[in-house]
């Protein structure tokens, strides 16, 4: 603990004793503070993982200790083994591909339809006031309740599943776009109009950027519900897809494969949301929250 400042000042005069004392006194507190800071930093990195690690550990040990029936809840390692098998055999890729293509096609169609439509409805106030109640009604009608209707009308093929995804994702996007466009600060509109901006420019430069955060909330809600609805539809009637994988595994008593399918779905949901959050951040960097 010999600090260079202390040794340097020692030969000068009567002061060094004091100097050394203070240096010695501050060094450990500094160290302790640095240590605490490093600890805080490490904790910050670890914290989000703690609950997950505990959860996974319980999953692994509970069946092994006989706390739950190993047949119905196999240990995590068994499930991961089964997941690896599904990956190497290419089965998972097939099911994942089937689900993702349905989800993405449906979601994209919903996006392409709902954003422009929402903008148009939001822009024309009377139209918005006229249509809002019926849109609320549709939104609050659980998409799954309509699954039998879709199957009846469109059959059990791809069409009905994609249609269901479109239905489930359209309303959150539509309603949020409408409210985003309608709640643009009127002062901004007034200020832009006073510059003599033509309507389409006003739209492009003021209304749309102002509405983006609200629209994105709708998009994320839509993404979540599109996955949810799709899995449910695949469970009811399909020949491929993650939902199918889960029910089929359960019926064939391949319990580890069933859990592997569930894990795959969680990862798909997390990835979907992660991508959207990243895009959202990029688009709304100007907001004080970020």
């Amino acid at each position: 603990m010999s600090s260079p400042t202390a040794t340097l000042t020692r030969p000068v005069d009567t002061e060094p004793a004091v100097v050394e004392q203070t240096v010695v006194a501050t060094d450990p507190t500094k160290l302790r503070r640095a240590g605490r800071r490093a600890g805080a930093l490490a904790w910050k990195g670890i914290k989000p993982a703690v609950a997950i690690v505990v959860f996974l550990a319980v999953w692994e040990t509970a069946p092994r200790l006989g706390l739950v029936d190993e047949v119905f809840l196999p240990p995590l390692s068994t499930v991961l083994g089964s997941l690896a098998d599904l990956i190497t055999s290419g089965q998972l890729a097939d099911h994942l591909g089937a689900s993702l293509s349905r989800a993405l096609i449906g979601f994209s169609i919903a996006l392409l339809v709902a954003v422009p439509l929402g903008v148009a409805i939001g822009w024309y106030r009377p139209v918005a006031e006229l249509l809002n109640p019926i849109l609320e009604l549709f939104r609050n009608t659980a998409a799954l309740a309509l699954l039998p209707v879709f199957v009846l009308v469109l059959g059990i093929g791809e069409t009905s599943k994609i249609a269901l995804v479109i239905y489930a994702s359209t309303f959150p996007i539509l309603l949020n776009t409408i409210s985003g466009v309608r709640t643009v600060d009127p002062l901004l509109v007034k200020s832009a109009r006073s510059l003599g901006l033509p309507s389409y420019r006003l739209f492009q430069k003021v209304i749309l950027p102002a509405a983006v955060p609200t629209i994105f909330t709708g998009i994320r809600m839509a993404a979540a519900s599109s996955v949810l609805v799709l899995i449910a539809a695949e469970m009811v009637g399909a020949k491929a897809g993650l939902g199918y994988l889960i029910t089929a595994s359960q019926l064939n008593f391949q319990i580890p494969a069933m859990y592997a399918g569930i894990i795959a779905i969680s990862l798909v949901g997390l990835t979907f949301n992660g991508i959207l959050v990243t895009i959202e951040r990029r688009l709304s960097r100007w907001r004080p929250e970020h």
Binding site: L187, L188, K190, S191, A192, R193, S194, L195, G196, L197, R201, K205, V206, P209, A210, V212, S284, W286, R287, P288
Partner: protein, 274 residues
């Protein structure tokens, strides 16, 4: 005066329909003012004197019921870049940086990108915000936001600058320093400025002339020529300043009283602003 005034309001009257009846409400009644080129005129009035109505008319966002508004002798038709408006609440686009906000008006003018950027930086400099160009509005204080808003309205080089109580939302110290800044900018650019306020001190400090408005309907009561030396220390405590303050206060006071009586009398009456 032989030359045409920069901005002329000629017997401007604005009426609105009153909701649920055939009556009309007169917001502005026969308002006539001339602004010479390069003049700094302040409008001061009690609430209900039709300030915002007047600003909408000048901005070209609505049309007078009768009378005309002439800019350089030509009647104004709709909004345009020959008038720049500075609002009390800044009206900055929150998703654009300070610089991009200033460029906004220049985009409307159709300037190429390089020129826009150069001009924006010049005007950031003019309002004392050089180096703050990349900040977003939420990263700026109220006073800085208003500087950006002023720079934005000046950058596209309007014939007149219309200012709607621009400093009312700021704290007293910031307000005083921005008043000085505005006077400096006015002298540097030689712009014609029409400034609306309800602060008497602010009106006297800034205006070469102060027009006192009446309320309900808004009319020009008097126009006071302000002739004080603003180069001395603490102008606001000077003899001349106090004299003007008392004069305008007396003119306004009776209006404020009248406005209050009217407000109490017509509290139930709802006005439809179209």
């Amino acid at each position: 005066m032989s030359t045409t005034p920069k901005l002329r309001l000629e017997h401007v009257t604005k009426q609105f329909a009153v909701r649920g009846s055939n009556d009309t409400f007169t917001a502005l009644d026969d308002v006539s003012i001339d602004l010479a080129a390069g003049e700094f005129l302040v409008l001061v009035g009690p609430s209900g004197c039709g300030k915002s109505t007047l600003l909408d008319l000048l901005g070209g966002l609505s049309e007078p019921t009768s009378g005309r508004i002439l800019l350089d002798g030509r009647p104004i038709s709709g909004p345009g870049l020959d008038r720049g408006i500075v609002f009390q609440q800044y009206a900055l686009l929150p998703w654009r940086t300070a610089r991009a906000n200033i460029e906004f008006g220049l985009e409307a003018k159709g300037l190429p990108k390089k020129q826009r950027r150069a001009l924006a930086d010049d005007y950031l400099d003019l309002v004392g915000l050089a180096g703050f160009g990349d900040r977003y509005p939420h990263e700026l204080s109220g006073g800085m936001k208003q500087r950006v808003a002023i720079a934005r309205s000046l950058a596209f080089d309007p014939e007149v600058l219309l200012m709607d109580e621009p400093f009312a939302a700021l704290d007293a110290q910031t307000r005083e320093s921005l008043q000085d800044e505005l006077l400096r900018i006015w002298k540097e650019t030689g712009k014609t400025i029409l400034f609306i306020t309800h602060g008497i001190d602010e009106a006297i400090y800034l205006g070469q002339r102060v027009a006192v408005l009446t309320s309900r309907p808004g009319r020009i009561k008097t126009i006071v020529d302000v002739d004080i030396d603003r180069n001395v220390d603490d102008v606001r405590s000077g003899e001349a300043f106090r004299h003007y303050r008392h004069e305008i206060w007396s003119l306004l006071h009776s209006e404020v009283e009248r406005a209050r009586d009217l407000e109490l009398g017509t509290a139930t009456e709802e006005v439809e602003h179209v």
